[in-house]
Symmetry: C3
Subunit: 427 residues, 3 copies
């Protein structure tokens, strides 16, 4: 056999420390394989990216009434999200202070008190222990309340932080997003549908995939009905004269549209907190929708006739929000929020919720299949992509590939931020 | 969010040695999380609690005839229990001395010789190698018999010990239990039903749950038909005047009943070998049964009209036996024996056998559903409890909770004994 | 209990290094347990026996036309085997050089180019990158071709080597086997059937089992129709006078047959490259078939009326080839090739292909059930044997048993060679 190319020496990454793996990363390229594979790296990821950072975990509309509750499973943590009788939404670790039983099973429920099913210890919705039988007279309920978890409700989006000290970056997110989200009035939305899929890949590959649209033109026929090819980014040098004209025209349209939105008080500019030396990674921008321009549906018209909040004008584009574990699209008629939870180094849960106005009626105002079709299809297509990629990363012949500087620059932002977080944690 | 309680610092238990985990235990509280979770602790548990100690693994009634055999799977060990032509029950490691094939598959069988299915090496029921073909003239069958395992038949209960040197404590168990078990004549019982369930929890949580009835009042509606609330233990200070009277009355009844049983030669007093510096943990007591007082069934009457042994008087109460891996209840008409086998740090098999007189006829003398209903229900209820608990122990927010001094004192005995065994083994 | 034999001290192998395990092996006996169990040993096996050695992975008949391709999964590696437009069969790592996606899913396919489904990077069948969009003007396709894998086509059998430097021993295999295989013309055969089974055992137990026929007499009733008991080997000392006569007669027949085959230009002598200090372990011999002598079928007649290549005389015996990961039987009318891929320390995939002349028509020239019956049965019987054996090896009471010097000498050759490879690699 005449060798066409030299075969690369097998990476001896197994012997590298996490710090060495971080240092081994070549700028503008994928990460060293072990950062997607090794259990010790996964444990570090959980600690650094999931326990110390703010995480999007659901929406206020998940718990519309006092006593409404659900649990969020983050690695080995289970967190209760519950609305109190005072309407305040709180979060608690889902562990009884007596014999450690889970209080609530995964899923949604509604309760008057939080009663442990094992020995009936009974907690208030504020977490205080109300009573515990047969513990003796020296036992003090006040010292045995549920452990609280930091929670922030920003425009109807719920963020929790499992750390003792929560990072301050959430204030910038609140400052940027609260006014952008205000017109959508998500506190008065309802969850029309929720579903989770399991992807057999590292959570970072799920996020990397979400941060580029290089794969959209061929890979996402449903999604690209709403976004023109010219919007996906390109290498100017490779364009034909015709393609170049289209990109120029798109850019001109975009500027005019931003000015028009701005005149209506709708912030649209790209805002990013993505520096690798900062916590609370996020970015937001309002994108133009192609075709009819109303919503990211197959026909680019609204999926729900009842618009969100008090919105009258359907020309709202696609307001997006990206965090290090979630992505969100807000349209005039509905919103899609998607977040990941890490299950193991090579397994990730992806949860999607579709929101509409709380008064929108299924079958009358919206058709559920039409509402969910684009992102259900997109999620399943992405799932196949990232699983094929994980398989390749596991292959000893893997060498980190180069990102396209034009279409994968946001991927690079994310992986570079991730490495920065590892370094900040001492790796 | 106004914090109600301080959030506990995440336990840095991952860095603790097993000895440090043992030392970190707070008296009267659950164990540090890693003792229920870590694979290295599990390996130590298997070594110390399952390989060095005597284990209840079945009953003489499992092998009523010569050649009857079954296997017991204990972690990676598989042990053949077999009755010889001389009626003696023996135990052997289930490994052919040639190419290591299992001789018997899990389950019950009856054989004339133990023949390896791989190359037909043939062993006597006493373990001696009878013949092996084509091994050459220097090969000596006498050196290739099956490796024996210590076995004791105590009143029809079979205990094995995988260690070279079996602990002497079994003599005390025999001395206490042989006379207590004699009237039930378990050697002439039959196994009416056997079933196993898998619990997704550490084996110690299964045992801890078994050692308290704090959870019975609400958690076990079937079981508590046989045991009055007053029998479960209580904090005297918390009792109402009415409750206090009931407890006093129960205690008076109990003393009278013990005296009556004693007069009939039925030992009833609580006998315990539970000190943390001793091997062969066990305790036994005869408990009063509520209602009709005959048996722990839904109507507290006998489940089998044919009583065990030559028992005439149904007033025998509930003779129990607890070991570190099993619990047993002996009634006038039937017996229930339950034991655990550890499958992994977070997975445990629980096997239950129901025994009746060997001449009792199903459908005539007993109804199988009625016989098994209480403990099938109880086992399934307990399974849910311990799995919820395991989930809580896995949660990084877990902190070992305090046992009730009144209702969970036997739990504390068990976990304290367990720690003593780890310490005795050098941890 | 009166102990018949001393119980062995539990092997403290967990503390032994791989080198110590290698040194602990007793000649003529099975390997220490941990060599069949430990993940670190498995990783060493994959590195030494699967990444550095030549592996049989399929046949030229798997890819009869240009563009025909399939993937081979070896531990975490995935290799594309593909026939080029120039008819040359090549092998490549199944990883896109961009974002590491698998190019081909497991199974067989036919393609014009190798196009990555993720971002449509497009490779020639020779592995060169043809184009990649939007990578910018500095990007050079020439540096981003697929990584090639060594491949040798020896008489229609495909061998790959994942190492940079492939061992030279393959030349001896080619020199010996090319003339032996020539009459069968496997390049013009077709794969009539392929199937894989998963065996819950270490890959070495699968190979050990294949290297002896001590278990055949009882274990493989279908297979032994083709091979007389006298051919399986024996301990002369143990034979009866009648058995001795049969063995003598068999040996005389064998010599006469070898001479007759030799006169027809058919090499039959046992050729072995099995020394423990050599790479590329293999052996080959032509065996007599019992009964009608045509083929290893239930009636020992051909399964396919259309013979392989231009074969006219059905008296070809059973030409076999053994490597460290495969075994092969070539008959006048069909061929069977079987190879293992290691999935984990205790899980192995066994893949079998049955080949007939490419012009043989199913239902007319051959009956698929008749063609496959003997080795399907044999594989399933072996699967049960090796899984029982793995269970025994996992038992702490396991002690490495002695191989029969008469019937398990080839097993010893294999395990001794294996240890030699570990030693050569520095263990």
């Amino acid at each position: 056999m005449s060798a066409i190319l030299d075969y690369p020496a097998p990476a001896s990454e197994n012997n590298l420390s996490i710090s060495q793996l971080v240092a081994a990363r070549k700028p503008g390229h994928m990460l060293p394989a072990d950062l997607y594979l090794r259990p010790d790296v996964f444990a570090a990821d959980v600690d650094i990216c999931f326990r110390r950072e703010w995480l999007f975990v659901g929406v206020a509309a998940d718990v519309p009434e006092p006593g409404d509750a659900f649990t969020v499973e983050i690695a080995n943590s289970s967190v209760i999200i519950i609305r109190g009788d005072d309407e305040i939404i709180r979060a608690f670790h889902n562990v009884c202070r007596h014999r450690a039983s889970r209080l609530l099973e995964p899923g949604f429920t509604s309760v008057a008190k939080l009663v442990c099913p094992y020995h009936q210890w009974t907690y208030e919705l504020t977490g205080e222990l109300l009573f515990a039988k047969n513990m003796g007279k020296d036992f003090n309920c006040k010292n045995h309340g549920l452990f609280p978890v930091h929670l922030r409700d920003i425009g109807g989006l719920l963020f929790v932080c499992l750390a003792n000290e929560a990072p301050a970056g959430i204030d910038e997110l609140a400052q940027v997003m609260a006014p952008r989200l205000a017109p959508y009035d998500l506190g008065n939305a309802k969850v029309a549908h929720e579903e989770s899929i399991i992807e057999e890949c590292n959570w970072k590959l799920t996020i990397e995939n979400n941060r580029e649209c290089y794969h959209c033109a061929v890979g996402h026929p449903e999604l690209t009905r709403s976004y023109p090819v010219a919007a996906l980014g390109c290498s100017i040098d490779e364009l034909s004269a015709d393609e170049y004209r289209k990109v120029q025209a798109y850019e001109k349209d975009r500027k005019a549209k931003f000015a028009a939105w701005s005149a209506r008080g709708l912030e649209s500019e790209y805002h990013a907190r993505t520096d690798s030396d900062q916590d609370t990674y996020f970015s937001s921008e309002r994108l133009m929708i192609d075709g009819r321009g109303e919503s990211a549906t197959l026909d680019t018209r609204v999926a729900s006739q009842k618009l969100l909040g008090d919105i009258q004008d359907k020309d709202m584009g696609d307001l997006n929000l990206w965090t290090h574990t979630s992505w969100h699209h807000f349209f005039c008629d509905h919103a899609v929020t998607i977040f990941v939870t890490p299950l193991s180094a090579e397994r990730t849960r992806v949860t999607t919720k579709w929101l509409v106005h709380k008064d929108a009626v299924e079958g009358t105002d919206y058709d559920l299949d039409n509402l969910t079709k684009v992102w259900r299809a997109t999620n399943h297509q992405d799932s196949a992509f990232v699983e094929r990629q994980q398989s390749g990363v596991r292959n000893p012949a893997y060498t980190p590939g180069q990102y396209s500087p034009f279409l994968e620059d946001y991927v690079d932002l994310f992986t570079t931020w991730y490495l920065g977080r590892l370094q900040a944690a001492g790796y």
